[in-house]
Symmetry: C2
């Protein structure tokens, strides 16, 4: 924006600009401008009405990108020219105003990124000149909706897989284009995943990257002729061996038959082990998992173990993953027993990691947790990144106050009525600092205080009231942007992720995937009264006769 | 890439780079390099196995972005440094090779973007050095999968809405981040949508943009006090009037009661009409659609009509859209009758457009097509851009030949067996140029010729054969990139869209949304034989006793 030096890096995606917007934001801005209302002070809340995935929790994500948008907000001369051509109805003074537009007057309050949040809570509260705030709506929603959905989905997968599992995001090829893939990697990590296959996300966000090889690698080998130099040096550097010869001997030693294992696959594993002797992990389902893939892997793994390397393990990518993992584990255990006289080799077979991938979804994780499996790591792609179970979160951005007047958006669907007014939100904690409920309070009111009773009311159910005497009161909305700059330092992705994992623990009754408990978000008495007064005032009484 | 001047613009998203890749592509490239195989000539096919949405057609999209990727492919020094840090196992010569990597040896053949395509057909065929081709896999899949899914979904919505409807993409706020939103706009237009609300997509791709105002605009007005200057000049410039006064008179004239219509909404419509007198379209469901929104709209619309303007119409965004559209149309018709003595005003009420939005999906379009409605234009967001009915297309990228050796990927799931070999594909046309079937043929074979019988075989069903004597033969795969440059000119989005609409007509039996007919993709006899020979050769015979 004119004369402003941004304090944050630019938005991650080059698609983010003030034009990444629904046209109606521009036409509305013009109507406000034309009516002289564009500088009126307005307050907008960004919130959602219903948890995704039929759950009882949502993780708020996307905040840093929102702040980058606000910090870098400004139309280019090109943008203005495009609007001039496309909207011939708008006036030159409006285009001049747009060209000079800045977010200098905009204040952003928000809940910390990575927090567990609930319906109707303002995740972001944007206040400032009506014309500017209106132009932020669509882009903010775009940046929050998918990020929060993704982080929430990831957290659900992590919960479903159980505390010992490691989860890797493998969805890049099925995401909504390049930036969809980047967002999926970032926000699944925020929600609790342990790594990604997406190298660009590793580089951009510092996320651990993981990967081995694909079926095409195995298919590209026909025989050992395709491995001209199968030499591997031992881990201690003392000797070099022909890994192909060693592994062929191991195959026989382990009781497998080179006639029934696939020779191209064997060659592929040798070649891969030559390249990565200290991190050897093989995809074993190209031909036949238990008859060829696992035996070939075990042969190469034993040869590597005898060179002082710890092979990593196998990846299963088709078939009955749970049954195959158990069968493979049994084969590893049998080898370890057979190799009792070679303790290092036996140990290597006890330390193997089984990775499973192949259209895994949350329901599958539940099912195999009950039926039993021997999978250590899950690679999850399509159903994670597309959020198969519910592909969109419904955050909305609603005007709640203009000047001094609180505003309401009514609907024939009562659940869609908005909570009016410039408000703040507090989390009231009880014994052991566990949260009791969240309460929204008008900014002009006295906030709740520790040790003092505070009347909280259900927004729609007149009779449902509760007087809470909190041990401590946590303000949820803090000012993160004002006077053209970010307030304080933004946390790193790593620390947002830690916060998110802590929050998932605090809200255990809500985040557990089976039979979660709902959590309450109430209103102060004054806010309840305001909501219902406005509701009556804005609704006509039809005359029936 | 080193020393290469790209012939195409850079990929649209800044997230596209050789690192936008699964890590295993890099580790495989290293294993190929280490084994001296990275320069071996390889052929990969990009294809899908099953139509999305339980349908019988798919639209191929994303090609231009794939070609941009290939044309701009190259690692930066930064990228190399990141790989050096993250993969300590790889050698310096490999990193040097990566740093100098180019797609100079890569040839891309593809089916024309916007074509109707079928399972197993190679949409893209990538050939060149094994190491480079492997590194293209993930990014190509990312660029094709969502694009094709989106274009196909859009085409289905267009078919379901019927030939008279206009469809607008409104999904930016629910897409997978910024670039997901841009892709949704581009590829829904390609599939047959008529416009988008996304201004950035309008600017970037030349798509028509549409939009009016939101509920927040309506909520921001309490009364006419918020419209200090409601002056509008007539279309012919001859006079200026106070639109608020005129419209208030019209409200009474049309038989509505200002006591039951919402005053803030009335003020909002006046303000919007002052800004856009010649394109006035009002969102009418903020308070009560039929009791307040439509009457307020009609009052302002009549005032505008008397100033010589044609108001555009209304948008419905909640409630029973079909019933409300019929009720609103009846109110317009009643007004037109009442205004018989003022033919221009009466005509204005006969020309109004009813736009509907609110979680519209394909099933809804079918339902209301049967039950009846009066909607002219559908604004479709979430369910379009997230492809709710099936959120991912499963394109894969499979090695089919290396050197002179055709390769196959087997699977215990027979439907997943790949068709091996460097091949081409032809569409055989019969009478009236209608397509009979598509056939894949080894590149080394004689292709099918017009007027000559050609034996076509089902890839898996041994007995299913057909001898086709085509009227004409259309080669499906043409070379689009070779020797470091694009071959010929890429078509504009507008011409890809036209091609796509023509294709939807040609494949009417497949693209009709109800009871579509399947279309056949067969193999030449030689390709059938190769497939089954390789299958037997790569499968071990387990010994049972």
């Amino acid at each position: 924006m004119a004369g402003h030096t941004p304090t944050l890096p630019a938005p991650f995606s080059n698609a983010v600009s003030p034009l990444l917007n629904d046209l109606y934001q521009v036409t509305m801005a013009y109507a406000y401008f034309k009516g002289g209302r564009h500088e009126e002070h307005a307050v907008f809340d960004l919130f959602f009405r219903k948890h995704p995935f039929k759950g009882e929790f949502t993780i708020f994500a996307g905040l840093e990108e929102c702040l980058r948008l606000v910090d870098h907000f400004g139309f280019t001369a090109d943008d203005i020219e495009y609007i001039r051509e496309t909207l011939p109805g708008v006036s030159e003074p409006f285009l001049e105003w747009l060209a000079g537009l800045s977010t200098a007057g905009v204040t952003v309050k928000a809940i910390a990124e990575g927090s567990v949040v609930f319906p109707r809570l303002p995740l972001l509260r944007i206040s400032g000149p009506l014309g500017v705030c209106q132009l932020l709506e669509t882009t903010l929603l775009n940046l929050v909706n998918y990020a929060s959905l993704m982080a929430t989905n990831a957290a659900r997968f992590v919960q479903a897989a159980g505390p010992d599992a490691r989860l890797l995001e493998f969805g890049l090829r099925r995401a909504q284009g390049p930036d969809g893939g980047m967002s999926a990697s970032k926000y699944s990590y925020m929600g609790g995943f342990h790594g990604t296959s997406n190298v660009a996300a590793g580089k951009a966000f510092g996320i651990p990257i993981r990967g081995t090889h694909a079926h095409s690698f195995v298919c590209s080998f026909v025989s050992l002729d395709d491995v001209p130099d199968p030499t591997v040096t031992s881990a201690d550097g003392s000797r070099s061996v022909n890994l192909a010869t060693e592994a062929a001997g191991c195959l026989t030693e382990l009781g497998f038959d080179a006639e029934t294992t696939n020779a191209g696959e064997f060659a592929a594993f040798v070649a891969y082990a030559v390249a990565f002797p200290d991190t050897f992990l093989a995809l074993v389902d190209t031909y036949s998992t238990l008859d060829s893939g696992v035996p070939n892997f075990m042969a190469v793994a034993l040869a590597l173990a005898r060179l002082g390397y710890q092979p990593r393990g196998i990846r299963l990518d088709s078939g009955d993953l749970a049954a195959l993992s158990i069968a493979a584990r049994n084969m590893f255990a049998a080898a370890a027993s057979q190799l009792a006289s070679d303790p290092a080799a036996a140990l290597a077979f006890r330390n193997l990691n089984i990775v499973a991938s192949d259209s895994i979804n949350e329901a599958f994780l539940h099912t195999i947790a009950e039926s039993g499996h021997s999978i250590d790591t899950f690679g999850i792609g399509t159903n994670l990144v597309t959020c198969q179970a519910q592909p969109a979160l419904g955050c909305v951005f609603k005007l709640v106050q203009i000047g001094d007047a609180p505003r309401i958006k009514l609907s024939q669907n009562i659940a869609k009525v908005t909570v009016p007014g410039a408000k703040l939100a507090y989390r009231l904690h009880g014994h052991d600092e566990f949260p009791i409920l969240d309460v929204m309070v008008l900014e002009s009111e006295e906030p709740p205080r520790a040790g003092e009773p505070f009347l909280c009311r259900h927004p729609l159910n007149e009779g449902e009231r509760v007087r809470v005497k909190p041990r401590s009161v946590e303000p949820l909305l803090t000012t993160l942007y004002s006077d053209s700059s970010v307030v304080g330092e933004l946390p790193s992705l790593e620390s947002v992720r830690s916060h998110c994992l802590v929050q998932q623990g605090v809200f255990k009754p809500q985040t557990q995937v089976k039979h979660p408990s709902p959590y309450r978000v109430y209103l102060s008495d004054a806010l309840y009264t305001l909501l219902h007064d406005l509701w009556l005032r804005e609704t006509a009484v039809p005359e029936l006769s």
